[in-house]
């Protein structure tokens, strides 16, 4: 298991390298003074420009700049917003909580919808449940998450008046209430794809010989479906759920913006709109880092579920 983790970590290092290079070199390829671009091309005091040059070592050769920047990153320094006069690290820390809650709730909702729906659709193929599951996953995958959000606001906040439309509430239960609709909107979107995969991998598992064997042994159909088929269908389901993490990230950004939750997504969109490049750069690196950790987590999970992976059977 330890070997699995180490080899996976080693392959993830280049990914970090590529992402950091892209965000680093891009802003330096834009025509004009990089220091000025980092404050969004706005008029600013010579002192601020000097501070930016110092922070990002803009007077040094490009590769030296890159080396020093990466060194700062390794020490956890994600850069500084000169517009908001704060470290990117602090800006992120202030907003991480609400984003994590949103992501966690959405993911949970998506699994609660997708797994039962996918299983029932696979067991009762071509029934009305199966057809509705197919329609649900097609529409869910095609509807932009911000449109789903707006529809929820329209129905539950404006027409029925049972849910708060915007903002993050005053903490505790109130915040939870403010998170229900955003999490539902994102959960639906995620569930669309997971439902499809759950269904197809369950259909495949249910046609295997061992299912026939289990049935002829006289096992209850519940045990056949859950213990024999579902456990074998889990690998593709987890793969897709893991891959969806990227979508979950984008989704939280969009939903955060639509509902005005003031989380990481709002910070990112706001910074892009105001062209506060250091924040965008720092956040992209941060997100890439989280991404790598999650990917690693999914790989380790494989090892736990499927012993073949642990002992090096899978390449």
């Amino acid at each position: 298991m330890a070997r699995l983790i180490v080899t996976r970590l080693l392959t993830l290092v280049p990914m970090m390298f590529v992402i950091t290079s892209i965000v680093f070199f891009m802003v330096r390829f834009v025509p004009g003074d990089p220091a000025r671009i980092m404050v969004g091309g706005q008029r600013t005091t010579p002192a601020t420009l000097e501070a930016i040059r110092k922070q990002y070592n803009l007077d040094k050769p490009l590769l030296t700049q890159y080396g020093m920047w990466v060194e700062d990153l390794v020490h956890g320094d994600l850069g500084r917003s000169f517009r908001q006069r704060q470290d990117v690290r602090v800006l992120i820390a202030d907003r991480l909580g609400i984003t994590l809650q949103l992501a966690g709730m959405s993911f949970l909702i998506s699994l609660l919808i997708a797994v039962p729906l996918g299983i029932i659709a696979a067991v009762r193929r071509n029934s009305w449940v199966d057809i509705s599951a197919t329609v649900f996953s097609l529409i869910g995958a095609s509807s932009p998450v911000f449109f789903t959000s707006i529809l929820l606001i329209l129905v539950f906040s404006y027409k029925l008046n049972v849910m708060p439309a915007l903002g993050r509430g005053d903490g505790g239960l109130d915040t939870f209430k403010h998170l229900i609709m955003p999490a539902l909107a994102l959960g639906f979107s995620l569930a669309a794809i997971t439902t499809r995969i759950t269904r197809s991998s369950m259909v495949e598992a249910l046609t295997q010989d061992y299912i026939e064997t289990a049935r002829s042994k006289g096992l209850s159909s519940r045990s056949v479906v859950m213990k024999h088929a579902f456990r074998n269908a889990l690998i593709p389901i987890i793969t897709v759920a893991g891959l969806q993490f990227g979508y979950l990230l984008v989704g939280t950004v969009l939903v955060d913006y639509t509902f005005g939750l003031g989380g990481l997504g709002a910070l990112l969109v706001d910074s892009v709109q105001r062209r506060d490049y250091p924040v965008v750069q720092g956040m992209t690196i941060f997100v890439a880092g989280v991404f790598i950790v999650i990917n690693l987590g999914v790989d380790v999970l494989y090892g736990i579920i499927d012993p073949r992976v642990r002992f090096g059977g899978r390449g």
């Binding site: 280049p14 990914m15 992402i19 995958a141 932009p144 969009l254 913006y257 892009v272 997100v287």
Partner: protein, 296 residues
Amino acid sequence: MAAEILTPGAVAGATTPSTWSMFLWRLRSNSKAMIGLGIVIFLLILIVFAPLLAPKDPNFGVLPDTLASPSRDYLLGADKNGRDVLSRLIYGTRTALGGALMVVLISELIGVPLGIWAAYKGGWVDEVVTRIFDMLLAFPPLLLSFAVVAAFGPSLRNVVLSLGILYVPFIARVVRGVTLVQKEMVYTEAARAMGYPQSRIIFRHILPNCISPVIVVSSLDLAYALLDIAALSYLGLGVQPPTPDWGNMLAEGQTVLLTAPHIAIAAGVMILIAVLGFNLLGDGLRDVLDPRQAKR
């Protein structure tokens, strides 16, 4: 079957009439593909004939009609500047779908040669290219295009260029896979043994075999590109007002959601239909062109 494999023309697939009519017959019996195709054709008609189909000038506002509800005069109502929502939706097809088409075209122009090159070169070139693709595939394109917009400024051009490049791995990965298989085929080897130049082998044997998978991937990529472009416009990072676009109309509609919900709903439904169309078409084409994979 054996004869079919040996004649290059037959392998080229869609070019011979019999294969073509076979393809059409199977396409016609696939309801998903047909619904998708219908939606796509409808959207293409909107792009081409927007000036003829739009009942009003999309940028001309009549202030007394601000936020008018749908009526006979304004079929889908008017927006907060008194502009006709239906006309703006029709013209919005040009930026939304036109942008998405450009994204996929850019990704094909770079991705197809890159995929063939990587597979042909093999060795460390292939290794490096594949690794970079894998990384970019794992990372959501939208997040990286945020960085592009932050550096270069918000505009449809910047969005299309950045997404176009970030979509390259989706196409290149498929083309590389096909090339790897075709490279080892008997007829490719025969062509090589006969001393044909590599360019002929690529154009006569490799490229024709890439057509079907590239069409399928492109159709699904168009759905993703539509969603990404709409998202960026919705966030105010893509198409800038007053140019009509579904994404920025949805954002404008959200600000007046309580008094005039028809604007946001109309724009959102339009995005939904367009994305659904390409998803259905892509799924359907996969069933038709690649029955082995469709079985799963």
